[in-house]
Symmetry: C2
Subunit: 400 residues, 2 copies
């Protein structure tokens, strides 16, 4: 398995254009098309307020097949009522005619401001040039086009040997706010030429989520538009993967997981206003649920996140967050480490030198925060970023 | 019932001094003493990490009597192990000797940085002058001495006729971060000269909490040191209140509630970095639990709070927060109002003029955000403040 610079996946083409949905001069409408109808699966936001494209995708993915993804940024097409659903149908119908594909094989996606009508005229007039621009190396432009407050495009690609063939998996993602499980709270598109049954593809997707997009948080807010879509067009031509528990299934699953974890880490690194990335690791929890809950609570605490912004190894706030996490906890047993530096032993401070060392470590911008509860054998983690004044600036001024 | 400027309560004296626990020049050690042993009750943080003074208070309040509150700021005496507990015992013992009171009638309280040993020498040498300084009009200084990141002292006082006597209730509180129910997430001291049984006093306290300190949030973080203490010294001399469901009991309860709600509102107004105060009101919820959960989720959403900081009536983020609140919700039925301005009707935008009007309303700094779910008859609310860059600055630099 190797990481590659390019995002080429056999049998996929992609393109992006400016449709004036966002401010002029920015790509905001993009298309990914498979040469053949592909096995397809998706996982969607748990938010009860679901954007129109989410509702349409869920419906169209029931048969496990898709051939194209049509995505816009700058407008979420959420809370737009019947008109919003109609807009998602109309744009995918236009694309289906331009490309000669079945309308129901097109998966729509949107991201951006909630509650404003999709600028249908502008989108429709941009669709022909979008379709005409499809090319095998177009995926990096799509990664750019789906950016909202992202400061860099998120891309990843691996290759692996599956059942005797070289199989490619590429993925792109957009962050950077409303990042919290479950679900992924972002747009993620994964493409592969593997030959795999739709149900197995979905199982692999769900398995990969657990250790990637479901273990990251920026702000605890979840979006109306989250989706992770995966298309497998089968061009690699190896013997089909029918079961996840098979040599090929396991390699596919691992490869998919690698791409997703890579993208998830990029999303956190580009969290709105983030100046630090840190991994909150809970060890020695009394149950699996306690481990993940403890990690999530610490990773979400505004007081912990602002302390990290100030390179302050303020472990008292970590203790306070653990104390309200609703987990089994004996404060007198807790050990806390910033990287290798132990700042708390059995619930009380070690010595000031360790805290100073932690402070210097934090200044590097990336570190592990390891918390040992000493109650049991369970461990889990969350990857997150700090809470900075820039987060506030970005979100106070987002629409203005 | 009338609001008064002073904080005098018959039979109580108070004082505050500088003990160099905080930076020089700031009051940080304070004392409140009742002329007689008083009926006393307290409600304490639910955080599993409890500061030493909390543990001691809980023990000492078992018999429902107390005569003094000894409080310091600048140091939480939390996560300080056995030494911390010993420090709380020692300081209250010193005060008991200075005042000739029983040691077990002294309630300790602390607020400030977690995890650092209490500077026992400095406190002990300041205690004699603290005891010597007690005077009937000393309570405003105590309100100052318990401030941490607060920008103004929080005080409130009412008088009422109970069973033929004028009864006074005064209260002081400190905010301003780690503000979230349950519990109150702050220090609150309430004093009255009412004649009331300890159990009835506790019932009145708990009833008042529901509509005051348990309905406010600043940042969702809860503290290791939260406590609300109430002392009733009986000097008013009316016939004793034995039951909450009695004319006197109801007046006491209402008066206590008034003081607590007043203090709670002040805490939110002085929330760390707050530039806006707003009340999130859920109406038409399918259950009481849904109403409070919906209000809490919206009031805590970083994206809603940053939008408010920017005077942005960004109702899409409100919809997104409702959608992840875990409550029964039909997005197509939701109505949203900023003050009188309806920005959402049945899940979609009304017109831009309403949003502009909402924007102007928000610029005034205080408003009601009313959300009608149109699913049932239940209503509840949360009072909260916005999330500003100043919140981050205050908390990133707190210890440095």
């Amino acid at each position: 398995m190797q990481h590659l610079q390019n995002l080429l996946v056999p049998g996929f083409r992609a393109a992006a254009v400016e449709a004036a949905i966002k401010k002029p001069g920015r790509l905001d409408l993009a298309l990914i098309v498979s040469e053949y109808p592909a096995a397809a699966a998706g996982v969607f936001t748990n938010n009860k307020v679901k954007a129109a494209p989410i509702l349409l995708c869920q419906k169209r993915l029931r048969r496990g097949r898709a051939q194209a993804i049509l995505v816009n940024s700058g407008n979420a097409n959420a809370c737009t009522g019947e008109a919003g659903l109609e807009a998602a149908v109309v744009t995918s119908r236009t694309i289906s005619r331009l490309l000669g594909l079945s309308e129901t094989l097109i998966l729509p996606a949107s991201t951006g401001v909630i509650g404003q009508p999709l600028p249908l005229d502008r989108m429709n007039s941009a669709l022909p040039s979008l379709a005409a621009g499809l090319r095998p190396d177009g995926l990096p432009e799509v990664a750019q086009a789906i950016m909202t407050t992202d400061t860099f495009p998120k891309t990843s690609r691996v290759q692996a040997q599956i059942n005797g063939s070289v199989v490619t998996i590429a993925g792109i993602a957009k962050g950077a706010g409303m990042i919290h499980p479950d679900m992924a709270t972002m747009l993620v598109f994964l493409l592969t030429d593997a030959v795999v049954a739709p149900n197995t593809l979905k199982a692999a997707l769900k398995q990969g989520l657990v250790t990637s997009f479901n273990r990251i948080t920026v702000d605890g807010d979840t979006s109306t538009n989250d989706c992770v879509l995966v298309l497998a067009n089968g061009i690699a031509g190896h013997s089909p993967i029918e079961q996840l528990q098979s040599p090929g299934g396991e390699i596919l699953s691992t490869s998919l997981q690698t791409v997703m974890a890579d993208l998830a880490a990029q999303v956190v690194r580009d969290g709105e206003g983030a100046a630090h990335v840190f991994k909150v690791i809970i060890e020695g929890a009394a149950s699996a649920a306690d481990a993940v809950k403890g990690a999530r609570t610490v990773a979400l605490s505004p007081l912990v996140k602002t302390a990290v912004a100030g390179n302050d190894a303020n472990w008292g706030r970590i203790m306070a967050a653990l104390g309200r996490a609703g987990i089994r906890l004996n404060p007198d047993r807790v050990d806390i480490f910033f990287g290798p530096h132990q700042v708390v032993r059995q619930g009380v401070a070690t010595d000031a030198a360790n805290e100073q060392a932690a402070h210097r470590l934090m200044a590097d911008g990336s570190f592990d925060l390891r918390i040992h509860l000493n109650l049991g054998a369970y461990t889990d983690y969350y990857l997150t970023c700090d809470l900075t004044a820039d987060y506030v600036h970005i979100n106070a001024d987002y629409r203005s």
